[in-house]
């Protein structure tokens, strides 16, 4: 799938997003027992998500499903962790269809954390529909996350200089309408122009519709969206949404005890933005952020400007302050060639 083979050291925002997901799960596991869970996602050749989850949580089972057989072979080669990761050759369609049996057959787990990490811009409707089917199969305690490609550049008409700007917009909207069909939320497309923000909103609306549809058929529990982000994954803009199946009677208590929040329909979508920094710049920034609470003061003391304008620089300081704790140094050291054994050790530590 597009983007799925890009190494993580080139995708720092994705890395940050994964750590934010871990933090969200940690909050949920204040209430739910984490050793009753199976973690399921696509994994990619390096099984990075599974390794991270294995390190963070006491999951008894981890399962990766991949449609590409070559990737599965690489996964099996890379699968050196203490926690055994089951690597299956399976399409997402088959996984979604067989999900109830997979959980049923898993002796170690009663609940699941599932991440449908779709990188491809093709088949958005199918991806959202698969999410909807899976959402309909959740039981209380389950967590479901979907990541979708929300790049406007993937829409036909984008960058077409042969037509005027408004015609380009019409072509892009028509393409998105055709891709999503009746999944497209009218309220969000009427009179709208296509931008990164509006496209993410439209896709979020389509996902939210599936979440509510699943909730309608759920008995005594509902599927609650709890987190949404957009970020740039190197070459694509991505949208990611996480929801949880929570018992209706225990909902208030669950949110109070975990500190998680239920997202509203018109939720603003935060973007994970991190400025590109040298190690020296980053250390200066970290020191100043520790000393000063106000971003403009940090900017004034930097001795350099992050971006073309003062406003942009202050905004970058703000972004860095927000996400600095999720950024490991290894990501910045990407140009250093290290021996394999050291890399492996570092990977384990990170």
């Amino acid at each position: 799938m597009a983007g799925s083979n890009v190494p993580y050291h080139l995708r720092p925002k994705k890395y940050v997003e994964r750590l934010l997901f871990c933090e969200l799960l940690s909050k949920a596991f204040i209430v739910w027992p984490q050793d009753q869970y199976i973690y399921i996602s696509m994994g990619g050749p390096f099984l990075s998500d599974h390794k991270l989850m294995g390190q963070h949580f006491a999951f008894n089972s981890l399962l990766s499903f991949e449609m590409d057989e070559a990737v599965v072979t690489r996964q099996r080669f890379n699968n050196l962790n203490d926690t055994p990761i089951k690597c299956e050759h399976m399409t997402s369609e088959k996984f979604v269809r067989e999900f109830p049996q997979i959980i049923e057959q898993c002796d170690d787990a009663e609940n699941a954390v599932v991440w449908l990490d779709y990188a491809s811009s093709k088949g958005r409707r199918t991806q959202i529909r698969e999410f909807g089917i899976l959402a309909g199969e959740l039981t209380p305690g389950d967590v479901l996350k979907i990541t979708l490609n929300c790049s406007v550049s993937t829409l036909s008409g984008y960058g077409n200089r042969a037509v005027k700007a408004h015609e380009q917009q019409m072509l892009m909207m028509a393409d998105l309408r055709q891709q999503l069909g009746d999944m497209i939320p009218d309220k969000l497309v009427d009179g709208q122009t296509i931008s990164k923000a509006s496209m993410a909103k439209i896709l979020l609306g389509a996902v939210n519709y599936q979440i509510k549809e699943a909730s309608e058929s759920a008995h005594n529990y509902s599927i609650s969206p709890v987190s949404v982000y957009v970020y740039n994954d190197g070459s694509h803009d991505m949208l990611t949404i996480t929801c949880m199946a929570v018992q209706n009677g225990a909902k208030e208590e669950f949110f109070a005890n975990t500190g998680l929040c239920l997202l509203s329909d018109d939720q603003a979508i935060p973007e994970i933005k991190i400025p590109d920094l040298s190690i020296r710049e980053r250390r200066r920034l970290e020191t100043l952020i520790d000393e000063h609470e106000e971003n403009h003061i940090v900017h004034e003391n930097l001795g350099f400007q992050l971006g073309e304008t003062v406003g942009g620089s202050i905004s970058s300081v703000k972004d860095f302050r927000l996400y600095k704790d999720y950024l490991p140094y290894i990501l910045i050291s990407k140009t250093i060639q290290l021996p394999d054994d050291i890399l492996e050790a570092l990977e384990t530590v990170s």
């Binding site: 409707r125 999503l180 009746d182 519709y209 509510k212 309608e216």
Partner: protein, 488 residues
């Protein structure tokens, strides 16, 4: 043997109305019935003021209905004039309509007198109907105790103080049934969002004419059926993509009909995709409007002529065809409506006549679609410069060129007037130099060629048909070069 004079009881149990009647109607239809009542109220107001709604662009301007829907209550409040006390005492709360002479000369759709009661029983066990008109202000309260009492068929009408800023009705339903409360929970259900979408389609004409429907604080925007038409409609004899039109007055009903394309023809790939999963067919098909209410939306069944009398069944390739018929009558009984008011009475005489016209119109666009099948890209120019237009606009614009309309002979005896406009669509010349090739290959083979020829390593940017075309060109060019070398 002496004959004993005993009587059998035909009296209905209350549960027939409270529990059984509600099963015949979906929740959204029950709510739409209440909105219909608001519109009927507006028409009565207009009649009082002697305003002819058909002669004004926005006759419903200033009228509104506010719906408040959540898991604990349903409230509809309008400023459409209220229910006169006499009507409330004698008719409005009866189970079924009693002939009383009212509304006989206005274009309402209320016929059976069950809408409000059925909607209340469908949703909850407690309701208050509050009404305020020029003369009276009163409320009627339905309670769970009254609902369960089989013998009590009366409820006190209480006179109250004025509560509303304008004359109208406020129906408040509480003690919602559990299944209804779940649907009304906007956090966990799409019902309210879907209802808004339904209203935007079904009340599109009424909304356009000025009526304002606000659901949970948000105004609903009309979503009308639009057909593509050129700016200069009815250019005599010129080939252009424009709708087939029909208009008539028959059986005391005014009829306007248009059918055409609402979008350019679908490509072969889109059709293939649609066959795997229905995505965008939603707008194709026939929509029927009766007295400004949409009673059928984008129908593709035999009801609207598909798959009957030589018209093929609806197929994805006809995804671009849409039609709309507008029936208007001051006597709702003349309209081809069934009891739910959201369905057609297909056995009515007027509908049988119009169905024939609908079939004639649709054949023109089916023919065009079939003739250009596999060559849809050649029709792109036909659609350039066309604008999506409403039925009324199309008919109005076309009326300017009266010479293009022809009388419908076969309807001469059955109508005051009946005429149609038949467009002239460009069809391909018979000697086509292009043929369509279609074949299937394994995905891995196609991906291999994508990577080899287009460097599309993620197999995302290039379609299978582009790979097929490139393979054909590669093969043909190679053979031609070989041939040239041999000749040389």
């Amino acid at each position: 043997m002496t004959e004993k004079s005993e009587k059998v009881s035909f009296a209905p149990p209350k549960s027939l109305f409270v529990k059984s009647l509600v099963r015949d109607i979906e929740l959204d239809d029950a709510i739409l019935d209440l909105l219909d009542n608001c519109v009927d109220g507006i028409l009565r107001q207009l009649r009082k003021k002697k305003i002819d709604s058909s002669s004004i662009e926005a006759p419903y301007e200033g009228f509104h209905a506010h719906l408040t829907i959540d898991e604990s209550r349903f409230i509809i409040e309008d400023n459409c004039g209220g229910i006169p006390k006499n009507t409330a005492l004698n008719y409005a709360f009866r189970m079924g309509r009693v002939k009383n002479g009212q509304d006989e000369d206005i274009e309402t759709v209320g016929m059976y007198g069950i809408g409000m009661k059925r909607a209340i029983f469908k949703m909850g066990e407690r309701a208050e109907v509050y009404s305020q008109d020029v003369d009276d202000t009163y409320s009627v309260t339905i309670t769970p105790e009254w609902l369960s009492d089989e013998d009590d068929w009366e409820i006190p009408l209480k006179e109250t103080d004025k509560l509303l800023s304008e004359n109208g009705t406020r129906i408040s339903i509480t003690s919602l049934l559990p299944n209804i409360a779940r649907k009304f929970n906007v956090e966990n259900s799409n019902f309210v969002a879907d209802l808004k979408s339904e209203i935007s389609k079904l009340f599109s004409v009424i909304l356009r004419k000025g009526f304002s429907i606000i659901v949970n604080g948000e105004a609903v925007k009309p979503k009308e059926v639009l057909l593509m038409a050129p700016d200069d409609a009815c250019a005599d004899g010129h080939e252009s993509v424009e709708p087939y039109l029909f208009r008539a007055k028959m059986f005391n009903v005014d009829v306007e009909l248009a059918i055409g394309f609402y979008r350019p023809l679908a490509s072969a790939e889109e059709i293939d995709g649609e066959q795997i999963e229905k995505k965008t067919s939603e707008n194709a098909g026939w929509s029927i409007i009766c007295n400004d209410r949409l009673v059928l939306y984008a129908d593709k069944s035999h009801i609207t002529g598909w798959g009957t009398a030589g018209v093929p069944n609806y197929h994805t390739q006809f995804i671009s065809i849409a039609g709309v018929v507008n029936f208007k009558s001051s006597d709702a009984q003349n309209l081809p409506l069934n009891s739910t008011k959201r369905g057609l009475d297909t056995s009515s005489e007027i509908y049988a006549v119009i169905l024939d016209i609908m079939r004639e119109g649709i054949r023109i666009f089916i023919d065009y679609t079939n003739k250009w099948k596999g060559r849809t890209e050649e029709t792109a120019d036909d659609f350039k410069g066309l604008t999506p237009r409403k039925l009324q606009d199309i008919v109005k614009r076309s009326s300017n060129n009266q010479t293009s309309w022809t009388k419908v002979r076969k309807l001469k005896d059955r109508s005051e007037h009946a005429e149609k406009y038949i467009p002239s669509l460009r069809l391909p010349s018979k000697e086509s130099k292009i043929v369509r090739i279609s074949f299937t290959k394994s995905k891995s083979e196609v991906d291999f060629l994508k990577a080899a020829w287009f460097e599309d390593l993620d197999h995302d940017g290039i379609s299978a048909s582009e790979v097929g075309e490139a393979a054909f060109d590669y093969c043909a060019e190679g053979l031609r070069e070989d041939e040239e070398e041999r000749d040389f």
